[in-house]
Symmetry: C2
Subunit: 379 residues, 2 copies
């Protein structure tokens, strides 16, 4: 066991040295050595309520990797997502009601990927039941929901976490976080994030096309980029300089927004976000998500899911600094979100993500959506 661990450590050290030099090696090693699957008895028990988006499987896997035991789940209807979820977790009990889970004192955390505008009301009920909460993004869809979530979170002191997976569950994003923290590109000036998406409308439930339910394109898929903007610029305050949304090419779905963009300014840097639903169906991944982090001493480009016309797989990181340009394969990077969230549940800390940050990202997303100018193109 010790020998295996040392071998793994040596292997990681090697790739880490090639990859990113010395400054951030120590940090990366400690993250890397966390177990990929829970070792020993589970650290907490948790449940899932609301299985309306396939993201729920990834959310549960993150918590399991972090030491959680998925003990039950509840969903109203037997959707395709539910069927797929049951195949992933066949041994886990289906509860008869949401209340059954809320009443179960052994359950410390509830994960949800319900319909977007139902996530906050559920989270409020979960927190009032004395449990912590982890929502798929977007974690809420209106400023009224945000106010209620903030109020109940402060009253109950429960955790309201949102799984901004394009950062928390992407190895290149996590590696970029380490690099930026270590000062690899000096001080951050701006983030430029793009989140193009494949729509595959035949696989989407009806709520995907109803604005009240999905929340608008900036609230929904751009919420990832708001999180990244705040995280990488280190901003604790920020404003939306301008935002635009439009349905430029999908008249058959009148409430869909297929394009949106946002300009931002925070106390730690500027930001720009662009999202859309125009990725061709033939594209091998859900979208060519990118993030460029501009610093005073260089820049980092992340190609999260694919390197078009280039290298295999995802999680690509390119670092340009005063010493030159380096490609960094981040596939050995650990994803610590689940582990840190379980730590937080046990220790009442905020190591996975500060609570203020989590909700400020959504505040910006909802405000950008609400105040967006409308793009009307005659294509």
């Amino acid at each position: 066991m010790k020998a295996m661990r040392q071998a793994r450590r040596r292997e990681f050290l090697k790739s880490s040295m090639t990859a990113a030099g010395l400054a951030w090696t120590a940090r990366a090693i400690s993250a890397q050595e966390a177990p990929a699957k829970p070792a020993g008895p589970p650290r907490i028990k948790f449940a899932a309520i609301g299985l309306d988006h396939g993201h729920i499987t990834g959310q549960c896997r993150a918590v399991i990797r972090g030491g959680g035991e998925l003990v039950s789940w509840y969903a109203k209807e037997d959707t395709d997502v539910v069927k797929s979820f049951m195949k992933s977790f066949p041994e886990v009990k289906r509860a008869k009601s949401e209340q059954e889970i809320l009443d179960d004192k052994s359950i410390a955390l509830v994960a949800s990927a319900g319909i977007a505008n139902e996530r906050a009301p559920l989270g409020v009920r979960v927190m009032k039941a004395g449990k912590d909460y982890m929502s798929d993004k977007p974690g809420l869809t209106t400023l009224e929901q945000l106010a209620e979530v903030r109020k109940v979170q402060k009253e109950t002191k429960r955790i309201y976490s949102i799984d901004y997976s394009e950062r928390l569950e992407n190895k290149a994003s996590v590696a970029a976080g380490e690099l930026v923290k270590a000062g690899a590109i000096g001080k951050v000036i701006q983030t430029l994030g793009t989140g193009p998406h494949k729509m595959t409308p035949q696989t989407r439930p009806s709520w995907f096309f109803k604005k009240e339910q999905y929340g608008g394109i900036l609230t929904d898929i751009a919420s990832h980029q708001f999180d990244q903007f705040l995280f990488f610029t280190g901003s604790t305050k920020a404003e939306v300089v301008a935002s635009q949304v439009g349905n430029v090419h999908h008249p058959q779905y009148p409430e869909l927004e297929d394009f949106g963009d946002v300009m931002l300014r925070g106390n730690g840097g500027a930001g720009y976000i662009r999202v859309d639903w125009f990725t061709p169906e033939s594209f091998p991944v859900f979208g060519d998500g990118r993030l460029t982090i501009l610093g005073t001493d260089g820049f980092i480009e992340i190609r999260k899911n694919i390197d078009i016309g280039g290298r295999e797989r995802g999680s690509h990181l390119f670092l340009v600094d005063k010493k030159g340009t380096r490609y960094i394969d981040t596939n050995n990077q650990e994803l610590p979100y689940g582990r840190l969230l379980v730590d937080d549940v046990l220790n009442r800390t905020e190591t996975a993500m500060p609570q203020e940050h989590c909700l400020l990202a959504m505040e910006l997303a909802v405000k950008a959506e609400k105040n967006a100018q409308r793009i009307n193109l005659t294509l």
Copy 2:
């Protein structure tokens, strides 16, 4: 001669077929077969006035490739640029004054890379002397200059061309223009252009650091991106949705702006532009200029000068459409700007660039600069 031409045609056809398929082959061939150097007697005579930026060499080379004969030049001082220019064109006569060139009836066109805020007044004098004009970008720096240029251009019917070289003199940009025109990505929705730059302050003349003279970062280096936004979206009208500029890390140059960004909306699509002076000095090219063109059926990414951590050289084009993802090496693409400009001088046409487009790009740049919000970061 005919055999050579056929061989070249075959070779090009081959690369063209690999590269971009059939739809745009015919157009590309006709461009490719234009001579790389003037063949036969020169089609026009031209001169250069104002050698304050090294771009003047590239501008003159473009016109020479297009069939122009550089017959004289004038500069007030013997700057480094002047010395370098004299090495490039040792056989060309140095005129004793600007007036000597303006009075020379044999000269049809004047090229200039003078100090940025002196380019428009010179252009007005050139047009009034009955000659056409080609300016380095930015082609003007204030709305007052723009009004005067528009007025005199209409009165004299002379050409006021601006060499937006990141499009006109970059092979990947020209190839992207062909692809978009051929419908390769459907209808264009947005352009996202970044123009990071290396500053190398010790090589910059004093006017580079004086805002009145260089015009501000959005007027200066972002003018390229305004041109690309209008060109690729096909917009003939557009507005600046929001713009920001800042000096976030160069207090020693108080009038320098080292960061700027702009959100745009035109009648043919949306746009975003980001420019900065933070590229490390060790970077092998002047900057990692990129352009992503989002269409209804796919997208094109251009890596103009370098493919970081990837392929050799510049002029890289990546096309994602319904059929898949293709990398396109555009190094065989002809650069037609100089040839078309000489055509226009001879035929009184606007094939190199519509006059309205040329000046609308500068109008947007100057307005974005003038109305920009100020970024004040405490880094």
